[in-house]
């Protein structure tokens, strides 16, 4: 189908965008890359009266290394993350996730901020933000507000963003020496949303696991960390044997629901297999 009728506005600054969001309140939605929102409009799952197109706001896009973190502007396209030398060097987890996100034509338009602000439970970047301990920055009438990734994703397509707020960037801490990461997902076809996905980040220094962050996506209403699995790995030798021994904890960490493609039991099984595979891919694991 086609999108329902709406009025279109193209603010030139964050201030203008915030004014439009304040003016139209619940009737407005932010249009970033549109690679999820436009299908939702076409399916009539969403029917906002006003679309606030932020694509021409200068300064919302870009990747910058600043002191001890890397800042990703909300309007940064997936293709920019994919091709960025800074991302490849400092956030290899994000670099590894990029080829899994849809297809080249979608990655040319889709944005980092759009993916995070939508909060699709099967999306890759929210899980990466969670595993890497990113902080989101939202602009509102009263200025900017910082929200830790673990507090940002609230449920199915629900985030901590309040009405009238605009996600403007995220800051990722630069990984410390000895840290490694790995990423994997299972999808029925290349570029599909994940049936299950795993993003891990943690230290394997001294051939021991520590400070492990294991984020799963596609198995709940939001990306989530596997707290029991992380604890079971803490301080253990960075080995396949430790991983095998700890994977059973995932049963208590997850409560997946069946969807069109798989039963809850299948998802649980796939999550365990994939988490094992991904953990074993980390640098420093023998």
């Amino acid at each position: 189908m086609k999108a329902p009728r709406f009025a279109y506005a193209r603010p030139a600054s964050v201030a203008e965008a915030l004014a439009l969001l304040a003016e139209h309140k619940d009737e407005a939605r932010v249009l970033a890359g549109g690679q999820s929102l436009v299908p939702m409009l076409n399916f009539r799952v969403a029917a906002p009266k006003v679309l606030v197109d932020i694509n021409r706001i200068a300064g919302l896009a870009g990747i910058r290394v600043v002191k001890n973190h890397i800042r990703i502007g909300a309007l940064t396209r997936h293709v920019e993350l994919e091709r960025s030398a800074d991302i490849a060097r400092h956030l290899p987890l994000v670099a590894a996730a990029m080829p899994h996100i849809a297809h080249p034509a979608i990655r040319n338009r889709g944005t980092f901020g759009g993916s995070c602000a939508l909060g699709d439970p099967a999306a890759e970047l929210p899980a990466c933000a969670l595993a890497l301990g990113a902080t989101f920055i939202a602009a509102g009438k009263k200025g900017e507000r910082r929200i830790a990734a673990q507090d940002f994703f609230k449920g199915l397509y629900a985030t901590a963003l309040k009405a009238g707020e605009l996600l403007v960037a995220a800051e990722f801490p630069l990984p410390k020496p000895g840290y490694a990461s790995a990423f994997g997902e299972l999808a029925r076809r290349h570029g599909d949303y994940a049936m299950v996905g795993v993003a891990v980040h943690g230290s394997t220094q001294g051939k021991k696991f520590s400070d492990m962050r294991v984020a799963l996506f596609g198995v709940g209403d939001r990306p989530q960390r596997a707290a029991r699995l992380e604890r079971a790995l803490e301080g253990r030798p960075a080995s396949a044997k430790s991983i095998e021994g700890a994977l059973g904890e995932l049963d208590a960490d997850l409560s997946p629901r069946a969807d069109l493609h798989a039963s809850a039991a299948t998802k649980r099984h796939l999550a365990k297999v994939l988490a094992g595979r991904v953990l074993k891919q980390m640098d420093g694991v023998s």
Binding site: M1, K2, A3, P4, R5, F6, A7, Y8, A9, R10, P11, A12, E16, A19, L20, H24, L31, G34, Q35, V38, P39, N42, F43, V50, L51, V52, D53, N55, V79, P99, A102, H103, P104, A105, I106, N108, R109, R189, H190, G191
Partner: protein, 164 residues
């Protein structure tokens, strides 16, 4: 342009020609090209970004024509399959598609050619696996993928041989 409106004035370049129109905000780029400009080589399949039949180039990069509104193309340079064909940019690919029988009904072909050209521009010598991965967002319901990959690979190899 900061007040919200249901009709939007746009000015853009399509296949090297300047175009000015007044369009409904809800009109997507693919429908704009087809109905307003009668450039019907851009096909509309799924209308939710899955099938790739509506692939066009905006400011040099391929995008889904169904997932972008015409209003958003204001000030942009848009190239469609007609433009790439007339400029002979995809001449080799077109010949290879004919030689390899890489199309049956032809519905997916414009989108496939747009994607193939983008791939070969950025990666002149892709493996078959890479071609398949890159084209994973372009569905062919006649399931002629083998021949499509053959054709794209043949062009890449011919170009590589010439540049030696």
């Amino acid at each position: 342009m900061s007040a919200a409106a249901e009709t939007v004035e746009i000015s853009l370049t399509v296949n090297a020609e300047r175009v000015k129109r007044s369009v409904p905000a809800r009109l997507n780029l693919a429908d704009f090209l087809r109905y307003e400009l009668e450039l019907t080589g851009t096909h509309v399949g799924c209308e939710h970004g899955v099938c790739g039949a509506c692939t066009v180039r905006v400011d040099g990069e391929i995008v889904r024509g169904c997932l972008m509104f015409a209003a958003q193309a204001d000030g942009c340079t848009v190239d469609t399959i007609e433009g790439l064909s007339d400029s002979r940019e995809i001449e080799e690919l077109q010949s290879a598609f004919v030689l390899c029988n890489a199309l049956q009904c032809g519905f997916c072909t414009p989108g496939v050619l747009m994607a193939a050209q983008a791939l070969l521009r950025d990666e002149p010598d892709p493996s078959r696996e890479r071609i398949r991965e890159y084209l994973s967002g372009n569905y062919c319901r006649c399931t002629g993928y083998q021949a499509i990959v053959d054709a794209i690979e043949a062009v890449a190899k011919a170009r590589a041989a010439r540049s030696k």
